[in-house]
């Protein structure tokens, strides 16, 4: 049972990470900086609870805020470049963040032990949950509360004018600016929201793993972050959730019995999924089909459904 609870925790945190990339991707920007924002959130939140003795709630809110501010600052110069150059620029930023934490040593003596981030050895003893007697289930609910909040907020945003504008910029920047949209402002805003969400996810991640170190926030994590929304499709926030479940639940955990063959199959299955569903697992056609089904069920006068019954 604990295995599944742990898996659900991973899925929750990775969904936040994927959703942060989803925001940025809506505007057509491929950003590999999300793992960097995630790392910033993780370290800030952990330092606040461990060193400053904060409660986790304000700590992750502050972590989210800090990551958002950094994302906004990174957004301005980074979004001046496009396409592959943006990928390289954001990748460089992510690596810079990782190397910063590799060298970041800020330990404080508490009694006989020293606590705090210790450079390459990482940041151990992030013990807010066990110290406050939270069970695995409590932690799980805590994580998913935030996943649900973020998903609801993004789902709503998708239906507002802001969502339409993000997508418009993602489709055609020239047309968007000719339609009066301030493309730079929209892209930086998307980057900032992405940073806020990644920071929140990072803050939570630091506390359930209890030990963070630079190597966890490398290129692999950045690639996962961007792979979720691409694999899940940009038509809906639920695509990202389903992609995380597919990757973490099925490809990584479900295929563990295959041993070394798993890594080979992992890449193959992602390729297969992208080929079979090029616009993502949940694309516009899927959503249209779901809507049609709902409409049909709602109309009892529909001759076809009556005939079927």
């Amino acid at each position: 049972m604990d295995f599944y609870l742990g898996l659900a925790q991973i899925v929750g945190v990775h969904t936040l990470l994927g959703l942060s990339a989803y925001c940025v991707l809506l505007t057509g920007q491929v950003s590999l900086a999300q793992a960097g924002f995630f790392a910033i959130g993780a370290y800030v939140a952990a330092m606040l609870t461990v060193l400053a003795g904060w409660h986790i709630l304000p700590a992750i809110v502050a972590a989210s805020f800090v990551a958002g501010v950094v994302a906004c600052a990174v957004g301005f110069p980074a979004l001046r470049v496009k396409g592959l150059m943006l990928v390289v620029a954001t990748l460089a930023f992510g690596e810079a963040v990782r190397l910063f934490f590799f060298n970041f040593d800020y330990q404080v003596a508490r009694g006989e032990v020293k606590i705090g981030p210790a450079g390459g050895e990482g940041f151990r003893q992030i013990r807010f949950f066990p110290e406050h007697g939270w069970s695995t289930l409590d932690v799980l609910l805590f994580i998913w509360l935030f996943v649900a909040l973020v998903m609801a907020a993004l789902w709503w945003m998708d239906r507002s004018r802001a969502g339409a504008v993000l997508r418009a910029v993602g489709e055609d920047e020239v047309a968007a600016q000719s339609a009066g949209i301030n493309v730079t402002a929209v892209k930086v805003a998307a980057m900032t929201v992405g940073g806020l969400i990644a920071g929140l996810g990072g803050g939570i991640f630091a506390h359930y793993t209890a030990h963070i170190e630079h190597a966890q926030f490398g290129v692999a994590l950045a690639t996962f972050a961007i792979a979720y929304p691409i694999l899940g499709g940009l038509s809906s926030v639920f695509g990202t959730l389903i992609a995380v479940i597919f990757v973490q639940g099925f490809l990584i955990e479900g295929l563990r019995f295959l041993g070394d063959w798993r890594n080979l199959l992992f890449g193959g299955l992602i390729l297969l999924a992208m080929n079979v569903r090029p616009r993502g697992l949940i694309d516009a056609a899927t959503i249209a089909a779901i809507k049609r089904m709902r409409v049909r069920n709602r109309e009892p006068g529909n001759a076809r459904t009556e005939g079927a019954e």
């Binding site: 004018r161 504008v165 997508r167 418009a168 489709e171 000719s178 009066g180």
Partner: protein, 249 residues
């Protein structure tokens, strides 16, 4: 309304637009014609701010807008359509117009309501423009799934929804059939009635001659003639630019 003063755009050694002076009076439909590659589309791109001018000025209502970004010019009342249609294909017809509602009166709206609220009072205005563009039945269709003529109409609608004072139409009749061109003619006349100034670039001469008040003719980035449709039609330089000099004959 619109005044170009010595406007130039050079791409490397190519002088796409070469110190062009042009005055488009308020409330007129002004035609800009010329052979392919004469710099017409470049003029539109300079006026709407897609790329910076090499030299010269663009004045709107006597204010210099040469250095302003595209979206700021939209707020000042300059909108455009594209020669090769550029819609937001994955958005619905209605959303295409919703994102383009950037008129000043909308900007002053409450920030949260404008960005995170539902359609609200934007709806009536959009419905009116859909009606005008004969797209009312298609409001929830994805723009990418529309037929060609409908896409052209939607692009015009998107340019109108921001409440422009000056509308730049870059070959709006390209690829249209005779009936659609008649409808376009009627729409341009209606927009003129409503007080819009229109800069029309078009190869379809029948439409240009019928709908414009004045015409300027470009060749190799320079203005070679300007006048009423009748004057331009009989101008020898214009005939040479289009048909070539009759030297071999």
């Amino acid at each position: 309304m619109l005044e170009l003063k010595g406007l130039s755009k050079h791409f490397g050694g190519v002088r796409a637009v070469d110190s062009l002076d042009l005055n488009v009076p308020q409330g007129e439909v002004f035609g800009l014609i010329g052979p392919n590659g004469s710099g017409k589309s470049t003029v539109v791109n300079l006026v709407c701010g897609l790329f910076p001018a090499t030299a010269g000025q663009v004045l709107l209502r006597n204010e210099d807008i040469t250095g302003l970004a595209s979206h700021v010019r939209v707020a000042r009342g300059v909108t455009r359509t594209f020669q090769n249609i550029r819609l937001f294909g994955q958005l619905s017809v209605w959303q295409n117009l919703w994102v383009a509602q950037n008129a000043v009166e909308h900007r002053s709206e409450n920030f949260l309501r404008r960005w995170l609220g539902g359609p609200g009072r934007a709806r009536e205005e959009i419905d009116r423009i859909l009606e005008f563009s004969d797209l009312s039945g298609k409001r929830d269709e994805l723009a990418g799934n529309l037929a060609f003529g409908e896409q052209r109409r939607l692009e015009l609608a998107r340019a109108i929804v921001a409440k422009p004072a000056l509308l730049l139409l870059d070959e709006p009749a390209a690829g249209m059939n005779a009936e659609e061109i008649d409808q376009l003619d009627a729409r341009i006349r209606k927009l003129k009635q409503d007080g819009l100034t229109v800069l029309l670039i078009e190869h379809h001469m029948e439409l240009v001659m019928a709908v414009t008040d004045r015409i300027a003719v470009l060749n190799f980035g320079q203005k070679i003639a300007e006048g009423t449709p009748d004057e331009v039609q009989t101008n020898r330089l214009v005939q040479e630019a289009y048909l070539g000099v009759a030297e071999a004959a």
